[in-house]
């Protein structure tokens, strides 16, 4: 349950036009939300099925396609989140050069101006940019990514309606934060090289076992999560896990099941609950929990009961 500082300000004005201001600071203790992706890679929307599988998705992770106009979140998924009383976590992709030219301002202004009140509407620009910035060939630079994200945030501040709780998050791969000698990339990918600024309200890391490595289940929770907490704390932000998942079948010689991996990770994370904004299971492909009764029951308990559902 991250503690969010809240500054309340007041202004009093008398009939003669004299005014005086004051403020008071309080703290809002926000529960960690547990949810899921809802649209699989083939484009099929599974909201109702996944919501039934997990009891009650508290936050819904969606992905808008490159150059989507309008983003599908705006045209379709936002209404689903409102009708399910769920928070939103959505991302969109436009090339930094296009963003910085202003050619995407109209579509982005429309996106932000139509965000719905109720639950928090988390948004991010180009999820996992570390792959594009540090991959080969490089698709854009860290500087351009940061500048484009800042540009988009200016649009957000101007167009999000009053009363809508819209917050920016960053979304990078946990893999990119690993040292090379711990199954990380050969070339360091320092977070501060593409961190766009203090307007980010939660630092997100996509955490997998079994995707970017040949031997899944071999990294301990400490090896995967400690550095993430340190990075987020150094920035003064809670972290989120926009994608959390692992494959069902362990490699030869590994006896740990997916449910056991989830259990170990969640038990490790629970003492850090006040540093975690939200976690979404990546319910697609190799991480799809359909048919995995033990693992899906664990996640259902988390969605329904928060940290009290920790196995």
């Amino acid at each position: 349950m991250p503690l969010k500082p809240l500054t309340i300000s007041g202004v009093a004005t008398d009939a003669e036009g004299r005014s005086v201001s004051a403020s008071v600071s309080v703290t809002v203790n926000e529960p960690t939300l547990f949810g899921s992706s809802i649209v699989t890679s083939d484009g099929v929307n599974h909201y109702d099925a996944f919501d039934a599988m997990f009891g009650d998705i508290k936050i819904d992770r969606t992905y808008n396609a490159l150059n989507a106009s309008p983003p599908k979140y705006q045209s379709t998924w936002a209404a689903q989140d409102v009708s399910h009383n769920a928070a939103s976590a959505t991302s969109f992709k436009y090339n930094p050069a296009d963003v910085l030219s202003g050619s995407k301002d109209t579509v982005l202004n429309s996106f932000f101006s139509t965000l719905k009140p109720g639950k928090t509407r988390w948004w991010t620009y180009w999820h996992e940019p570390d792959g594009e910035i540090y991959g080969s060939p490089q698709k854009f630079t860290a500087a351009d990514y940061r500048a484009a994200f800042v540009h988009i945030n200016v649009l957000a501040e101007a167009h999000v309606p009053a009363g809508v709780d819209a917050r920016a998050f960053l979304c990078v791969e946990e893999y990119s934060m690993r040292p090379a000698n711990a199954k990380g990339p050969a070339t360091p990918r320092p977070l501060d090289s593409f961190y766009p600024g203090d307007f980010i309200q939660s630092v997100g890391f996509d955490v997998y076992s079994g995707w970017n490595e040949s031997s899944p289940y071999t990294l301990t929770p400490s090896a995967q999560f400690d550095k993430l907490f340190s990075l987020a704390a150094a920035l003064g932000k809670p972290l989120c896990i926009p994608e959390f998942g692992t494959q069902a079948t362990p490699p030869t010689g590994v006896t740990m099941t997916r449910a056991q991996w989830m259990t170990n990770a969640l038990r490790y994370l629970r003492p850090h609950a006040d540093q975690i904004s939200w976690i979404c299971w990546w319910n697609d492909g190799f991480a799809d929990l359909t048919g995995d009764s033990a693992a899906s029951t664990i996640w259902k308990n988390m969605c329904l009961n928060g940290w009290n559902g920790t196995p």
């Binding site: 500054t7 007041g10 202004v11 009093a12 008398d14 004299r18 004051a22 309080v26």
Partner: protein, 95 residues
């Protein structure tokens, strides 16, 4: 004329998300009201002679006046005014 003052007070220091936040805005603001006072005097001696004189002074009094109060926060919540008495207004919102 003294400057107005304002003090904001929240009913708790820490809220759980979804709880009601109640904020009291206590203010002081005095308007100056001036009244002209004519003071007359009469003096009489033992022979019965009288003389009169007057002086005019201004009496300033400070009276509390109403202030319009608005409350906002850094998360753009909407605050509803639930009470508005002279000297204090009360607002609520949801954490």
């Amino acid at each position: 004329m003294s400057d107005p003052t304002l003090t904001l007070t929240a009913d708790k220091a820490v809220y759980v998300a979804g709880e009601t936040i109640t904020v009291s805005a206590a203010y002081t603001d005095e308007a100056t009201e001036s009244e002209t006072l004519t003071i007359s005097g009469t003096a009489t001696d033992s022979a019965g002679n009288t003389v009169t004189a007057t002086t005019v002074v201004t009496v300033n009094s400070q009276t509390p006046q109403h202030m319009d109060v608005t409350v906002t926060d850094n998360d753009d919540r909407t605050y509803a005014k639930t009470d508005d008495q002279p000297g204090v207004a009360t607002f609520t919102t949801t954490a």
